[in-house]
Amino acid sequence: MTPQYEIACRDVLGGLAEWRKWGRLGWQEIKRRYRRTTFGPFWTSMSLGLFIVTLGFVWANLWKQDPKQYLPFLTSGMLAWTLVSTLIIEGCSVFTAGESIVKSLRFNYTILTCAAIWRNLIVFCHHFAIFVLVALFTNVDVNLKSLLVIPGLALVAVNGVWFATLLGSVCARYRDVHQVVSSILQVAMFVTPVFWSPSQLEGRLTHFVDFNLLYHFVEVVREPMLGKAPSLWSYGMVVGSAVVGWSLMIYVFSRFRRRIPYWL
């Protein structure tokens, strides 16, 4: 084991183990969002809810679908998408946002990554209220498979750690990447089956969907919310991306962890 490799691994494992620190940091950020507002993070939930309900009705009619079917689908999809996309966007700035502490202390940088992911999971729980409301007025199947939402979220979080660490490092060095990522995500939202279901493609462009990693991240969270089990292919893609991504992250982090304070 080369020392650099060891340092990177120690940072990641040590950082994950310091859950009390990143747990606190994540909560604290949520608490800050509540300051001096009555609803705090629920404001984003409400605007998301407004977006979903209005567009849901229009699109259900546009695509000649039953709103009672379409609304839960759109809501669960949007919640999952919001989680995944904010994880990616905020992943870009994990290190740049922590500049002052990265430049004044020696600590496990992974704490910053974990705090960002934890924070977004808490936000997801806030948003979940919209889904509960929608589910009350429509017919959503709640069964044992619904519990799969927990491993689904865990898989997204596990992928989030490698993604945020990797993107955070790259964005610390190349500030343009942040802009590139947000531009791509904007388009990806329409290309990924969030507003529409892959079945509407009727067999066209199947590879386009099958190999869209973002789609599978959405699937492992969305399907259980609708009382269905995600496909094995989705689980395979998500687990595969975790394995490949973590290896890539460890490699890059080993080489460049030491450079991060220089880049900030």
């Binding site: 606190r24 604290q28 608490k31 800050r32 002052s100 502490i101 202390l105 220089y262």
Partner: protein, 251 residues
């Protein structure tokens, strides 16, 4: 055994976005050597430290002396393990407590109590340690009920008191201080000095960067003179301060 060893440590800062504005390499009176690297000399780097080798062990009280931009702060950060040298190595045995800015992680929106926990965690205290030390921090800062209010409502002096009280509550093995720690009104400054003294007394190794001869003489038993990123003199405080005076007269 607490120790700190630097072996031929060199630190080059890459300067991004300066490529077009720098016409040629130059050596300036202040700051490190600015030079170009890479195939087409397209990369601008500042050499902030050049082949620095140091060896500190328990009981060492070291003062870093030098002009602005001589590399004092960079060297402090290398000693703290914040910057890993681009060449050479640094080996740190023991807990390092760097106090460069008063309060890493202080957030103006959080209350005083919340900030005590946040900063404490960043400074490497455990949850239990923070619980144990909070009464001391509260008492020392003299902020009383204000600790329940967001820090943004504090005056500058009150904020300094809080940051100072938290930062000095640690139990350091290797204590690294940049000058100018401690502020507030005259009465508090006096109290702060006593607190820093006891903090220093608890530390096994002290590293202090300062422009004040008196401070270095009072606190240190060793000194190092830095110039353009290199150690030009190391030895007892008197020897090094003499060398510094000669350098100043020469300029």
């Amino acid at each position: 055994m607490v120790s700190l060893v630097l072996d031929n440590a060199t630190v080059d800062f890459p300067i991004y976005g300066a490529q077009k504005s720098f016409r040629s390499a130059l050596r300036s009176a202040t700051g490190g050597l600015i030079k170009r690297e890479g195939r087409n000399q397209e990369r601008v780097v500042v050499r902030a430290l050049d082949n620095v080798s140091l060896n500190f062990r328990e009981g060492d009280r070291v003062g870093f002396i030098g002009h602005n931009g001589a590399g004092k702060s960079t060297l402090l950060r290398v000693c703290a393990g914040v910057y890993e040298p681009t060449q050479g190595s640094v080996k740190i045995e023991g807990n390092v407590s760097p106090l460069f800015n008063m309060s890493p992680g202080l957030d103006p929106e959080d209350t005083g109590y919340e900030n005590i926990v946040n900063c404490g965690l960043f400074l490497g205290m455990s949850w239990e340690e923070i619980d144990r030390k909070t009464p001391d921090i509260v008492e020392f800062s003299e902020l009383g009920e204000y600790l329940n209010l967001p820090v943004r409502t504090y005056s500058a002096g009150m904020m300094t008191r809080l940051g100072f009280a938290i930062a000095t509550a640690i139990d350091p093995e290797i204590l690294i201080l940049d000058e100018g720690l401690g502020a507030g009104d005259a009465r508090f400054a006096d109290k702060a000095k006593r607190r820093v003294d006891s903090l220093i007394a608890r530390a096994s190794i002290l590293i202090l960067a300062s422009h004040s001869d008196a401070l270095i003489q009072a606190m240190c038993n060793k000194a190092i003179l830095l110039q353009s990123g290199s150690v030009v003199k190391s030895g007892t405080v008197e020897e090094v301060l003499d060398a510094y005076k000669q350098v100043n007269q020469a300029v």
